[in-house]
Symmetry: none
């Protein structure tokens, strides 16, 4: 047992180290310009070991994306515990922006978009499992606010897209075209304004 568990532990460590190196490389250079040799070097393993863990560059890229899905959840409890709809939505928005900007997700999204021309499946998968799941969470979030009568009854699938769009336009879209884009200083005002527009229509 000692040997086996030792090996598993070492193997796990290498795998993690590869994943992190790969994430950094993909975020920095996009899929095409990321070099497997460089990832191996950063992860301090040989290329052969890298290929033992991930059969191909695509597979490694997908693993990195897959892992990133975990980062984009929304804390639904906030919808139940907040006093007002605006407070709840503000909190959810901040969580979202923190995840997006704190973990390099913007760069990863650029990489995915890059790869989409060459391999549409990558993009579609992200649409379904990344963007799509977050949108479902957001809808559920809003549904709870409706249930608590903090918002009017309405088509939450539609409204989720609207509030999401207003936020993305200000923070995510610019980040797609500028790797150095930082969250602007007047973040809170922008969010507040977006939520006010949202609430003008859907507020209780």
């Amino acid at each position: 047992m000692g040997l086996e568990s030792y090996r598993r532990r070492v193997s796990e460590q290498k795998r993690r180290s590869i994943m992190e190196a790969a994430r950094a490389e993909f975020q920095g250079n996009g899929f095409t310009h990321a070099a497997m040799a460089e990832i191996a070097r950063k992860a301090d393993v040989s290329t052969a070991t890298l290929y033992k863990h991930f059969g191909s560059k695509e597979e490694l890229f997908n693993a990195v994306i897959e892992e990133s899905y975990a980062l984009i959840g929304i804390d639904l409890d906030v919808a139940d515990s907040s006093k007002t709809a605006k407070e709840a939505l503000k909190s959810a928005t901040n969580d979202y922006l923190n995840a997006q900007f704190g973990t390099g997700l913007n760069a990863l999204m650029r990489a995915i978009i890059s790869e989409t021309s060459g391999d549409p499946e990558v993009g579609r998968a992200y649409l379904a499992r990344g963007v799509g799941r977050r949108m479902e969470d957001l809808k559920t979030f809003i549904d709870r606010l409706v249930a608590r009568k903090l918002l009017k009854k309405h088509d939450t699938e539609v409204s989720a897209m609207q509030v999401s769009g207003m936020i993305k336009e200000n923070f995510i879209w610019p980040a797609m075209f500028d790797p150095d884009f930082k969250i602007p200083a007047n973040k809170d005002k922008i969010i507040s304004e977006a939520l006010d527009t949202f609430l003008a229509r859907y507020g209780a």
Copy 2:
């Protein structure tokens, strides 16, 4: 002088033919996977001629992007001639979507985003001259509606981002991750809903 003008005309034709081939290639394959040799072949010129006109792949790409800026203007007159704010905005939105989907701009935007990791200037230029200029147009458009008292007085810089975001979220964002994305059948309803939300806050 006839000879000179003849030559200039021929040269102009080649330049055009190169631009068109390049646009097709970049839209189809993205920046990285577009091949200069293929562009030359499509344009029916030699690679050397291609390089006479455009010093590098980047330069050619920038020229194509530059040209695309012309496609994304908004017809401001509609703001003056429409009966209601909703009608005006609906018309502007449709113009926008037609330009975006009718001319392959989505694919070009994917290409720009791809290139942004490698050469941030490209993305920033697009942000300023492409996205930015359209946003200015939109602001002016809304200003005119305000002037006509079809909308309340308000911070139009903010509201322009909001309405733009709601539209992009539904139509442009998915297109970034799926080359085969088509405008959905319920387009009109989506637009109408977005505008209603907008008007709930900013309507006169």
Copy 3:
């Protein structure tokens, strides 16, 4: 002592299992494309164990070839018991073809020829110990037929090469260039014709 003999037995089994896996792999893919990892997998041992038994790929290959020498003997008794020279030679020829086609020797010979460019010793060893020994057997075989006066006295070293060549040209040579080559339907006629030519000169 029981433990030691147990171990030796297990070790022998592993060795056998490796040899068989190696033979299959070499016959199927040739020397270069045979993969040590695959041989280990087929033999159900680790690569390290494989290397304990055979120090290198070449060594393993040589062991497989060595073993194959046993397959190419000629039954000399037939020369004494047959009624006619033709019958005797026909029988020997059939034995030869059965060994060659029944045990995958053709594929192994292709592998040896392949390796000959890289490591001439392999080929020369086969020439001496494989082909050569069979040729000696054949010479002895013919000598006995001469002794029984079923054939004229003659230079049997020369005649052995001749009859062997006529057979190989029809059956072995094509097999070198076509892995799917099967013994043709008119085998018996071809053999008979070859022997007739042989006997036209050397028959009593």
Copy 4:
């Protein structure tokens, strides 16, 4: 016209230089171990130029083989001009051996056999267009000797294989297993003996 013909000439020269380098490399190392970079180096061209001329390693290999087919023809006129069948056949045999040993065909054949396990088409093509065509020539050659009544009427398809086999067994077969194999000193005697056996059956 000057430019075009100049280019064609240069291109032809490069192609020739590549072919020769490739032939040497393939003959020396077999297909698998031949390195495209080394061929390019020997031919004094870049690898890219090499790939302009030959789209892949396989293609280059096939071109080399194809070219070698030209070397293995038999001079049929000898069948008409010789005084005796033995003289004619001796001459044809010597031509064959000169071609085979003088141009490195043996090494090329080893390379083809090597590749046959991985890509059977290569071997089969050689069987049909290389070996096969020479066999047809030989049959025609013998047919002419029959026509001149220097040989009995007989099944020349069969006899061609027989004489060919007797020669190969002595000279070609050993060369397959030994890159350093040289034509033995008693070549003439071996040939003479083989032809005597042939003539014992088919001589007029």
